[in-house]
């Protein structure tokens, strides 16, 4: 598959995302600068983490008006796969591609740690390779990851199976202490109604190699790749079964 990884001023997880897609999975990934107006031949778009535009005004508020986001809107409207990670999730919410908003962590603390998330809906291009009941141990690093939506939106998210991941403890229980940011109903990630756009606060790209302490994030990328395969998109250029050693 061909991935487009967006770069805004102060994106800082773009390199990690491209590294994982190219070197861990052997697929093609290219950076797309925010001033570009085309996504080229991308099969999927990753909006990476960071602090686009210094988080000025609100997280993601300025990035969502970048020229490339018009292309992302069209891409998503045509069914293209879009995954927003951390700041990417915030940008997708600001852009209206995902419902709700991400606000200051309830604790007011920047939280940087590994958390557990449970996958709620396996029927999505982002979760279809995650075994039932498998908890993912993935890192978070954010100050504004508290998911908020009004009651009606929240009810619709639940009714339509749009909540993909929730924060849980190591036994898979949804508790207050396992919710690192005060998100409503422990929501860690959601998708749109059409299920082709998703966002999550944790960083799966930082959990794809054993040296980083967890490889659970791979399952999310493997889901995307398996979806791309079903859609008849390009095969990996190089298949690397083994995780490359750290250099």
């Amino acid at each position: 598959m061909n991935f487009a990884v967006l770069q805004f001023p102060a994106s800082n997880c773009d390199q990690d995302a491209v590294h994982v897609l190219r070197n861990v999975f052997g697929h093609s990934a290219r950076f797309v600068w925010h001033k570009e107006s085309s996504l080229g031949d991308a099969d999927a778009v990753i909006i990476p983490g960071g602090f686009s535009y210094g988080d000025y005004l609100r997280t993601g508020a300025i990035a969502r008006f970048s020229p490339v986001m018009k292309a992302v809107q069209n891409f998503a409207a045509n069914g293209g796969l879009v995954l927003g990670i951390c700041n990417g999730f915030q940008i997708l919410c600001e852009a209206g591609l995902l419902p709700g908003a991400l606000i200051r962590n309830r604790s007011l603390q920047f939280r940087c740690e590994h958390v557990f998330i449970a996958t709620e809906a396996a029927e999505s291009p982002f979760t279809n390779q995650i075994p039932q009941g498998k908890l993912l141990r993935v890192p978070i690093a954010h100050g504004e990851g508290c998911y908020f939506a009004d009651e009606l939106t929240l009810a619709q998210l639940n009714a339509n199976g749009q909540v993909l991941w929730r924060y849980v403890n190591d036994k898979g229980e949804r508790t207050e202490s396992s919710n690192p940011n005060g998100s409503l109903e422990n929501i860690a990630g959601i998708c749109n109604l059409a299920r082709n756009v998703a966002g999550l606060m944790p960083h799966p790209e930082r959990a794809c190699e054993p040296i980083l302490g967890s490889t659970d994030g791979r399952l999310i990328f493997e889901s995307l790749l398996s979806t791309g395969h079903v859609n008849g998109q390009t095969q990996p250029q190089r298949h690397s079964q083994a995780v490359p050693s750290h250099t």
């Binding site: 908003a101 606000i103 200051r104 604790s107 007011l108 908020f148 009004d150 005060g182």
Partner: protein, 79 residues
């Protein structure tokens, strides 16, 4: 002309900053302090002369960009 815009968190939205400031005020001995909401204040210098047009434009900018209607309310004055 100048637009003076005030943006506040919606009542239904958690406002941890407001809560923290409220409890700090209470600790400092300000006993008659109720709910606190922390928002934003934005001033914009306007170069046009038509006040009703400015009003329209600022309202549009507040709705689309300066505030997020999911979590915030806004009000403004043009002077």
């Amino acid at each position: 002309m100048k637009a003076k815009i005030i943006i506040t968190p919606k009542k239904a939205v958690l406002d941890p900053q407001g809560k923290t400031v409220q409890s700090a005020l209470a600790h400092m001995g300000y006993t008659e302090v109720g709910d606190v909401h922390v928002g934003k204040y934005i001033e914009i210098e306007l170069t046009g002369a038509d006040k009703s047009n400015a009003q329209k434009q600022i309202n549009d900018a507040c709705h689309k960009f300066l505030s997020n209607p999911v979590i915030e309310d806004y009000r403004f004055e043009i002077e």
